[in-house]
Symmetry: C2
Subunit: 508 residues, 2 copies
């Protein structure tokens, strides 16, 4: 999603339709009485920290964008948004909230998919959008330090002028904050090449619930002095501290990028193509994505696009290479594609000849989410598992829904079960478009799917996190002893439980 | 260090020289009375877990190798070594030790440099050498799972037959265990290319002090379900749990490797060469190492090697590329070298034409440690800092020692101050060979050096960890709030403090 689509969604939310409150949609949540209700004294105190322009109070129109997520799936009831400008202000805010037991929701670009960044009840929203300065950049090592509220795409553009790039890329880059990326351990499209944030993030500055500023803003690639505490904050979804600054290792921007599309007959061949790409494309492979023909049909239904290939195939593979030498990369990619065709692994192959062709190929893969969003209803899952199991998951879900009477006949509620995702990461986006949001269908899907994923030792949330929509299912991905230890850490770091309550860890 | 040199060191320790006890060398440590002294009942209980062949008790000859480190710098007084064969045995051992308050030192290949893997007093050694089985390998994703006691080189050889490799490499590979690599967050030679273990390790199985088996043996590249607890164990030096199993992402083994050596006039030019290598060699760069001419002179003193270059230069740069296409890599490397010479950044350049020439070039870089070890005494430091400061550190230490009257005259105690290391990682190995171990010299070096590193926001231990030799200096690298939080985690995870006591965190 680009910035413009995000804005469209926002306008939609405020203009045309009232999003139901999360607590109405997910019944069973009760406001915890241990949290203080805001008083005018509290608001005055916060005003003394951030100033008149640093807060939004009881103005429903202005609060809307902070109370509602971009998909219009979640809506909270916060009366106060704070926009600190400095780490010290964040510290002062949290110290007071902790003393007064005021619940807080940290918020970055608010582009999450699991409701983690919006409140449920009257939690105070602490938005990082006022902290958006680049702090330093070392063009020898490629190490960037920046405020947590910097927008990912802005950082990437800024680095681009210096010949570097951010090591992560995702659809929401035009709106998401780097601090939010860290807090949710964002993966995205470049993970197969540049690895996860646990490897690329070198330092974090975070404010703990009691106001302690934890300065771990290392700009060192190697530092073996004590527990690597910053790692706990990566993927903690704002539950143990507010990330205010980041230090990250950025790679050189590649001078040559190539994109190709393969038509493939079976998922076994998709795997063979992936395996061989790691040998022949090796160091220049920067994306290996797949989508099935069912997903492509949904795309075609909502898009007027010319076909990229003459024929249709059960599976499509999108390959991207990024390297420092155009001729070398072209030679590697062409040899690889020839081998795939000769060996019968690919039935067809197309290499983009220019940027507009690259965009067309990427356009289908990236447009799947939007096309699926145009169906009357869609059940979306972001799961990971051993690569070999990806298509089994799609097939077994189809069987299961058919046996359950929800799929396969003209009057069935389910339209289709489609799969696409990041093959290299074992990450499947399983989507089930349906004629309407139907609790009976949901009961067929869950917990069947989570149990299936659990049996494969997969993850029920590969990239999207837990938030409010996955936290009760954590036991399908993590053992009892792991969850117990997580709860211990949460209570040690946030004894009053003021940070992002009701979410992340199971409450039941 | 290869396995054979390690054995030599071991023989030296047992045969010719009695290593002084650590507690004699580092006075001020006292055995903590809270730990129980072993009784025959305890030993019988342990025997019931691991069997007769799974323990060594009160046999000084057999205990020696577990009580002494390979450098003969540290010696403990343990009377009991346990060699469990299963994770359940490790759990049973720790549960009992925790209940009885028996102190434990986990031990892998015992190749550490800071005394972290040997006991101080009568702690029980739990050696992982009996747990050395590969558990699984997925040749599509490249994900390996294995017991913690597997030797790094054995894993790498095993993977080599399948076209894969371990993402880390270090001198001690012939002896060190993968579990110990994780426990010490080993960096090594390939970090510039494959990143740190925080990125490549996907899962850990660890036993907590109370015997809880923490099963986080994920084989997923993406999993955003809760705090990433495994990260805390990476670099924890055996203080919060014993790692018994690992899951790691392994890259394809490159089919082409090239090695080159540059002669360079200034450290500014070393940085320029590094910067340009990231542009031109980019995705194939797998090592960028430097050593200064002073280090090279020490090497020459102890080695009968033919010179690789005709002339000598103030600095030498070793570049290694690893890729999937020999011709492409050669072209990139040759173009880069020509540009370096044309631009006057390098004064001379040599590319190895075969494996024996590669070995000769690597031989100097890797032989520096051994050569320095042949000096009468040597003060060794492993520090990291912004790349631009690396040579300043060497120069300022020379000045400081000269002003302190310890260097620069024929009768000065210090022979030289030399630098070498991993430029790409900002990692300097600062070595100060001297005519004898002289407390006056040590007092000049420390804490001056740590203060200097601290001012550059560097790390006092880039790769080697803290153990017993660096833990009291932690505050030079980490803030008070960070150390406080580390101590909190330690006390939460190991409330009785049975794991690796007296080490890692400051005791004073």
């Amino acid at each position: 999603m680009t910035r413009s689509t995000l804005n469209t969604f926002r306008l939609y939310a405020t203009g045309k339709k009232t999003v139901p409150l999360t607590v109405e949609k997910y019944p069973g949540f009760q406001r915890d009485d241990k949290y203080k209700k805001l008083t005018s004294t509290d608001v005055d105190y916060f005003r003394s920290i951030v100033g008149d322009t640093g807060l939004i109070y009881q103005n429903e129109d202005d609060l809307e964008a902070f109370n509602t997520d971009w998909m219009n799936k979640f809506r909270g009831q916060s009366q106060l948004v704070l926009k600190p400008k400095t780490t010290q202000q964040v510290s002062d805010i949290l110290k007071y909230c902790n003393e007064q037991k005021i619940a807080v929701v940290p918020q970055g670009g608010n582009t999450g998919l699991v409701g983690g960044s919006v409140p449920l009840f009257d939690e105070v929203v602490v938005s990082l959008q006022g902290m958006n300065q680049i702090r330093s950049f070392d063009d020898v090592s490629g190490i960037l330090t920046a405020d947590a509220g910097c927008v990912l795409e802005s950082l990437d553009n800024w680095l681009g002028e210096k010949g570097f790039m951010m090591p992560l890329d995702l659809g929401a880059k035009g709106s998401c904050h780097i601090g939010g990326n860290l807090a949710t351990n964002a993966g995205g499209l470049r993970l197969v090449r540049y690895g996860s944030l646990h490897g690329t993030v070198l330092g974090i500055e975070a404010v703990l619930p009691d106001g302690t500023i934890l300065d771990s803003m290392s700009t060192l690639r190697k530092d073996n002095t004590g527990y690597d505490l910053k790692q706990l904050f990566i993927g903690s979804e704002g539950t143990i501290g507010i990330i205010t600054g980041i230090s990250i290792l950025t790679p050189r921007r590649p001078s040559a990028i190539h994109v190709a599309l393969l038509g493939v007959d079976s998922f076994e061949d998709v795997q063979k193509a992936f395996k061989q790409s790691r040998i022949q494309l090796s160091e220049i492979l920067s994306a290996f994505e797949y989508y099935d023909n069912n997903a492509f049909q949904i795309f075609k239904k909502h898009n007027d696009a010319r076909s990229i290939m003459d024929n249709e195939y059960p599976f499509y593979v999108l390959i991207e290479t990024s390297g420092s030498n155009k001729d070398h990369d072209e030679e590697k990619l062409n040899t690889y594609l020839e081998d795939m065709m000769t060996d019968g692994i690919a039935q067809d192959g197309v290499v983009a000849q220019d940027e507009s062709q690259s965009k067309r190929i990427w356009g289908v893969r990236e447009g799947l989410t939007e096309a699926l969003g145009k169906e009357p209803a869609v059940y979306k899952y972001d799961i990971s598992m051993p690569v070999s199991k990806i298509n089994d998951c799609v097939l077994e879900m189809r069987d299961h829904l058919e046996q359950g009477g929800a799929f396969g006949k003209p009057d069935s509620p389910v339209i289709d079960v489609v799969g696409y995702g990041h093959v290299g990461d074992g990450n499947l986006h399983l989507n089930i478009p349906a004629k309407s949001a139907d609790p009976r269908v949901l009961e067929l899907i869950e917990p069947f799917l989570f149990e299936w994923v659990s049996k494969q030792k997969g993850s029920i949330s590969a990239e999207h996190g837990l938030g409010i929509s996955k936290n009760q299912y954590l036991s399908y991905s993590k053992s009892e002893s792991m969850i117990k230890l997580m709860k211990t850490f949460k209570s040690v770091l946030d004894p009053n439980g003021i940070l992002n309550p009701y979410k992340y860890l199971p409450t039941k």
